[in-house]
């Protein structure tokens, strides 16, 4: 399950050592680090080295769901607990019984829900919504966050007692820019993996010179950004140009206005979907279907624009790379309002 913890830096060696020594304990753990550093990978490695391997590994993102929904996801509910609860539903704590529950983005959990989580951690018991019965759970709770929880405590956003209860083991993953020596082994690992997935012949892979350049880059999106760049290199070829673009975008972002969401600078999905703003669950038009549509449109727009850019707006070439028909591409260009750069014909 999942990749191993890859790297040769002393940070990564330390993390591997830590994982080996604590995986059997099942003690509450907090994994911290910027977005894209591999917090989930570390959680999976803890799980696969623990006696809980083979039991459920359940993950929930505390930032992706509105408070009420997160609560019912975590603790489950009885039939009729609230409008729309047409049948009983088991919560994540029940599903993860005997195994691991990864609470991703724990720093985004609301204070009232933090209090309920603290109660579960203290007593090992929880009550599904609309139920009078307390259920026992034996769940290894691993929390992940990109927040500085100490700072959140100082600002009154995170409960100190919950912090200490979770922080029995702490694993911090430094950003990739602080451990560039991990880049060659990461490239090596993912090139092999993607080559297998792509399956084709003549796949271009980054040369030692390109990897050298990659080691100089800052990787604001960390390993996730590195994965995306590698995929792009292997799908589109022209590694040199792609690596040059990384640096060009980096210098653009320094000192300039806050960068808008673009494919080269990964942002969280909730940012991308603007869940705090226009697409907030409070808004009239909110529905899973509508948001999904918007997200898919956005992703398609990014990818098609990128490929068109690469092919110098040669639409039949782009259609081939995208593996869609020429007609579909033309339709999507107009539907998604993708505009060519000045001087190119629409």
């Amino acid at each position: 399950m999942g990749p191993p913890i890859i790297g040769v830096s002393k940070h990564i060696q330390h993390i591997r050592e830590l994982v080996d020594h604590v995986a059997h304990t099942g003690l509450n753990t907090v994994i911290s680090g910027e977005s894209g550093v591999g917090k989930e990978v570390v959680a999976q490695n803890l799980y696969s080295r623990s006696p809980r391997l083979g039991k459920p590994f359940i993950k929930i993102n505390c930032a992706a769901l509105p408070e009420g929904l997160l609560e019912s996801e975590l603790f489950g509910y009885e039939k009729g607990a609230f409008t729309g609860a047409e049948q009983k539903r088991r919560g994540k704590f029940q599903l993860a019984h005997g195994g691991v529950l990864l609470l991703d983005e724990i720093g985004d959990m609301s204070l009232p829900l933090q209090a309920k989580l603290l109660h579960v951690l203290q007593s090992g018991e929880f009550t599904p919504l609309g139920s009078e019965k307390e259920l026992r759970t034996d769940t290894w709770v691993i929390a992940a966050t990109n927040h500085d929880l100490k700072q959140d405590i100082a600002e009154g956003k995170f409960r100190e007692d919950l912090f200490y209860r979770l922080n029995i083991i702490k694993i911090h993953i430094p950003p990739l820019r602080e451990r560039p020596e991990d880049i060659p082994p990461l490239v090596d690992f993912y090139v092999k993996e993607y080559a297998e997935q792509l399956g084709g012949e003549n796949i271009e892979i980054p040369s030692p010179r390109v990897i050298d350049r990659m080691m100089q880059y800052g990787w604001p999106g960390n390993v996730r950004e590195l994965q995306n760049v590698l995929k792009r290199m292997m799908v589109l070829g022209n590694c040199d140009q792609i690596v040059n673009e990384l640096f060009a975008n980096q210098s653009e972002n320094i000192g300039g206005p806050a960068p808008v969401s673009d494919i080269k600078r990964p942002v969280s999905l909730s940012d991308l979907l603007d869940l705090e703003g226009e697409n907030s669950p409070e808004s009239e038009s909110f529905s899973l279907k509508a948001i999904k549509r918007k997200a898919v449109d956005q992703v398609e727009r990014e990818i098609i624009s990128y490929v068109l850019d690469k092919t110098d707006w040669n639409r039949s070439k782009a259609a081939k790379i995208l593996k869609i028909s020429y007609k579909t591409l033309l339709y999507k260009i107009s539907d998604l309002a993708i505009t060519p750069p000045p001087g190119k014909k629409r």
């Binding site: 020594h21 604590v22 304990t25 003690l27 100190e160 200490y164 029995i168 083991i169 702490k170």
Partner: protein
């Protein structure tokens, strides 16, 4: 005591650690120390003669003192553990839950800690 008791002392504040080590050494203990929880776990795993007592701070990098206590109590249930803690820190309650034999709040007097240590090693409650 027939041989010198072996004590593992864990604290991430250098001055505190060296003061504790020096004092216990002078009192005739064989002292082994660690400035973080992971190194302490490695010592516990690798050390062949084993320890007669563990003294640990609670707030430590990576593996907390609470974790050290839980692990020691699971692997070596007979080894007594003393937790030392800063004033008013939340982990105090956690240390008791993890079955620390004694939780001592800073500041404390070194002779008092040593007296408690001696009692615990002899099989007492440390109080």
């Amino acid at each position: 005591m027939a041989t010198n008791p072996r004590v593992l002392i864990i604290d991430d504040t250098e001055e505190v650690l060296s003061a504790l080590c020096k004092y216990f050494d002078e009192q005739g203990y064989e002292v082994v120390s660690a400035d973080n929880g992971l190194d302490a776990l490695k010592l516990l795993d690798e050390d062949i003669p084993g320890f007669d007592l563990v003294i640990t701070d609670l707030v430590l990098p990576n593996v907390s003192g609470v974790a050290v206590i839980s692990i020691v109590k699971k692997k070596f249930p007979k080894v007594p553990v003393i937790a030392i803690t800063g004033w008013g820190e939340h982990p105090e309650a956690l240390a008791r839950e993890a079955q620390a034999d004694l939780v001592l709040e800073k500041p404390f007097k070194l002779p008092d800690l040593e007296k408690a240590a001696r009692k615990l090693i002899a099989g007492g409650t440390g109080r």
